[in-house]
Symmetry: C2
Subunit: 268 residues, 2 copies
């Protein structure tokens, strides 16, 4: 956000189907929103192919950054091209091994349906040495949690309802606990009749009036013709009342400036 809000987070997506555009990366958007609301600053989203080398590369880049939290989705299933556990193991320099707790989770899922533990199913219980399995309340593949130096790394499945359930049940309480207290507030307005190229100096001026406020403009209509702009204002702080007060003060200044330029403005 250009804000010094809380810790930094990286999101890694594993999956050819995302790279070739067969599916849109809604997982990254869902995680980005959740992390932002928790006060994390999402600094990178990286999507890589289902290749060991590429997955390990993404984790290494994240481990080489200022990220406090790294979350990956995809590549945890039973097939040969599910390689996230191995890529993560390589990046953190650990061996993959059968994790007994994870094996018990997988076994219980299949045995409750009268199904045996086969090699591809056992594969889902192989985690980097020292990692903890994350329970999967919806599907069969456990997630992976590695705590290492100043990082917490979480690998979740790519199926959205599994990923979301595991985030809400396991990650969210953990991420709240480790996060210093940061409040994040936002407001939005829409203007009609003023092109984006004219608002640049107004935004800069308004932002200078609140040091923890960030304003971003998004063109929604044509720059020439019928310009429509949305402005998203966000502020962070350790005190909600103060953050909100500063946000509202900057909002008033921006509204006044836009009206001075004869733009029609709506508060959203």
């Amino acid at each position: 956000m250009g804000l010094a809000a809380g810790y930094e987070a990286w999101i890694i997506t594993v999956g050819n189907e995302v790279l070739i555009g067969r599916i849109v990366n809604t997982n990254a958007a869902w995680l980005g929103k959740k992390l932002t609301l928790l006060g994390y600053r999402v600094r990178r989203e990286i999507t890589v192919a289902d290749e060991l080398e590429d997955i390990a590369w993404a984790f290494k880049m994240a481990l080489d950054s200022k990220a406090r939290v790294i979350i990956s989705t995809g590549g945890l299933g039973p097939t040969f091209d599910d390689k996230t556990a191995e890529g993560l193991a390589r990046a953190v320099g650990k061996e993959l091994e059968i994790n007994e707790e994870a094996l018990a989770m997988v076994k219980e899922k299949y045995e409750s349906k009268g199904m045996k533990l086969t090699e591809p199913r056992i594969k889902m219980a192989k985690l980097p040495k020292g990692a903890k399995p994350i329970p999967n309340p919806v599907g069969t593949a456990p997630g992976i949690h590695v705590s290492m130096n100043r990082y917490d790394i979480f690998s979740l499945p790519g199926v959205p309802k599994e990923m979301q359930a595991m985030f809400e049940e396991y990650l969210e309480p953990f991420l709240k606990k480790i996060m210093p207290h940061v409040i994040f507030v936002e407001r939005a307005i829409r203007s009609y009749g003023i092109p984006e190229s004219e608002v640049a100096p107004l935004i800069e001026h308004a932002m200078r009036q609140g040091k923890r406020v960030y304003i971003k403009s998004h063109p929604k209509g044509a720059e020439l013709g019928e310009p429509i702009l949305e402005f998203h204002l966000t502020a962070s702080g350790d005190n909600e009342e103060e953050a909100r007060e500063e946000l509202n003060r900057v909002l008033s200044i921006l509204l006044q400036e836009l009206r001075n330029k004869c733009a029609k403005v709506e508060v959203l």
Copy 2:
């Protein structure tokens, strides 16, 4: 795709609104699909914040890879937080300067509406030295094309209809021209009643029967209970007939294997 198809491509998305999950990255999916159909292998998608350092980092990573083509979207507008041109200039080690051709494009757009060239509007005509502007038939900000060593780098605006029009009018003919002739064919089937953890060895076996064929399974139902799987088979080659023949041969083998396991199968 796990395929040795054509050249590699990287996609870079610039924008806080993507990182915080306010918008889903449909631009990357659209570009991923287009590039794949043109025979390119999309190897990375990276989303970064509207920060000079982050944008330059993404371009540097791409320039340090095996990519032949690098496409960025976002960050080309008139506001102070549109920093893609500067980030690109830093990554390729060039100065930003007013490009006369780009300035003429911007000037014409505004003057045709009776609007003057202000500082924020002139900013949209500042490109890395030696770059070519890409005409924007929909909006006002020109794109940027840098040819350098073995790379072609294209920066496009983030507004989808502008990005898409510029891709189709400028990039697509260029990308077709530089691409060695590669054909890319695909087929899909859906199976009912067999869990993904049981198909792993079938897929491996089928894939070994065609060296240019790649199969990926996507779970659509619950692994336990009512398993539904979709299989996407893709093949590449320099001859469409051969690629299709190989794909169909592998498809028949997979269909037979699935039916042997008593799965119900539909060809999509």
